[in-house]
Point group: C2
Chain length 317, copies 2
């Protein structure tokens, strides 16, 4: 018996864009849009709505901005039951760029924040809500959040917003199942009238397993990406998630077709997935940036030295 | 607080040998032996003890046979606290090849069987036990076993053998956490005086997660391989498992060194890990052989056609 409340959010273009600077062709993104629609995915996240005064368009691909004409070209007269989502980062969005809902194909704004910026995230989410959008708040780097801060933030989200869901975002790919269980239960305890979401990273090959764990404990918003594309080790692979979910509206086959056509070739140009430096930062609960830098260097396979530099950094006492 | 009863069994050479026909150099295997010893691994499985009248030595690498002189060269005057294990397959071993324990560096024989061959496996395990060895019985393809057959087999293992442990072997990489929990609990219910083992495959990126799940439910024998090497999608990566276990005797760093030296280069010649055809057979609870054949063909990226062939084969009614 499936749970109809479960919503699958595909983050292929948004999180995948972190590794190719959002430089996907319109042709590819449109193919992804059509495949996700056919697959029964609930929301497609098309990228960020980034502030062009901070990130000049000359330096990034177009899916970092998700201008309305671009999204309309992506849809191109083929509307679907799938919602269109876009992410905004606290401190990196110009709220004037957000059109009233009546003028946009976007359905859902997802606000990414660290727990300490929750007040700013709430302000942005309410701004988007007032313009007519659905919203979520996605609390990043959750494996570093203090429980007391997190609980206060969750109480605020419950009391002060109209978000559909608030997310556990394991940005570092540091968590395993018992920690996901604890976090989802904590969220559920404070979010009486909202859904809980899970966004996992795959540093320790646990993104899919942790997403299942979230589902078991009643998280109803679950993120995934095609072929697991995403920053560093990537995300929960959508093809695995759809093969797990029992709702007959889901069909994994269109996803296989875009993997064959687009993601296998892309995987030969861009690197993501299980690599030892990402495994090291994940298992040590650190941001992957040091691993990303290592992998660009000549020392990319000196794993023991890298492990030491992360596990036993110079004293900071 | 760690659980000292947990034993880590490395299957790198045995399960990894399934993808290169056990054709590892002595130099490499000796490096693996030294690294595993330093890492605090409890047992190293060095390969199979295969019947040469069935598998001629001219057609396979030397680690398919694990002749005593070879293993002594591997140890080469550097004994360690680590036990040496070798696998035998029901129907593929000549029991006369098994020396008395007093003449062998092997400590542990692991008997691989399907549930329907449990009587044969028990006979072999008892034979090895009588020659002075520790033993385990590893029940393969567990995701296809009928519960009634399995429970009968487990009662026999408890009553008729002296094995240290009996394993849940998810040969097809088909199981997720709730199924592992159910199986480990079933094993524990029937194996009052034996340990339960978990050997996972990574078709759905769940090998490590399922191994953790087994540990949570008191499985104390856990298998892994360096960099996840193993047939098809491979196994639970040892580096992940050691990073999870809290017993201070474990040290993951020597494993990173052999990954750099041997397994990164090997991964450029031999293919294992998360590939969509393996994901498809795993998610559909089938043997990976069709996926292995597909990946050798020109159609290796026609995933949808392959999915249809497995999900909806010609009618058999």
């Amino acid at each position: 018996m499936f749970r109809p409340e479960i919503k699958v959010v595909d983050c292929t273009i948004r999180d995948g864009g972190l590794i190719n600077n959002w430089d996907f062709s319109l042709e590819m993104v449109r193919d992804v849009y059509l495949a996700l629609s056919k697959a029964g995915v609930d929301y497609m996240e098309t990228g960020y709505k980034a502030d062009k005064s901070i990130f000049p368009p000359s330096e990034s691909g177009m899916w970092r901005y998700c201008d309305e004409p671009l999204l309309r070209e992506m849809v191109d007269g083929t509307p679907s039951d799938m919602g269109i989502a876009t992410m905004v980062d606290v401190g990196r969005v110009n709220l004037d760029d957000i059109l009233p809902k009546t003028e946009s194909v976007i359905d859902l704004y997802r606000v990414a924040t660290y727990v300490q910026d929750i007040d700013k995230a709430i302000f942005i989410a309410n701004h988007c809500h007032d313009k007519g959008y659905k919203t979520t708040i996605n609390i990043m780097a959750i494996s570093k959040a203090l429980l007391s801060d997190l609980e206060e933030a969750l109480r605020q989200v419950e009391a002060e917003t109209q978000v559909l869901a608030c997310y556990v975002v394991d940005s570092f790919g540091a968590l395993y199942c018992e920690q996901i269980e604890l976090l989802v239960k904590t969220y559920r305890q404070h979010l009486k009238t909202r859904e809980v979401g899970v966004h996992a990273h795959n540093n320790q090959q646990l993104a899919y397993a942790n997403t299942i764990e979230g589902i078991i404990h009643d998280a109803n918003f679950v993120d995934a990406t095609i072929y697991g594309i995403g920053r560093a080790a990537g995300n929960c692979p959508l093809e695995l998630l759809l093969s797990f979910l029992k709702n007959p509206k889901f069909d994994v086959r269109p996803i296989f077709d875009v993997i064959s056509k687009w993601f296998i070739p892309l995987s030969k140009k861009e690197e993501w997935g299980y690599l030892i430096p990402y495994m090291i930062t994940g298992s040590l609960n650190e941001h992957p940036r040091a691993a990303i830098n290592l992998l660009k260097s000549d020392d990319r396979e000196d794993f023991s030295k890298f492990y030491e530099s992360i596990a036993h950094p110079p004293e900071i006492a």
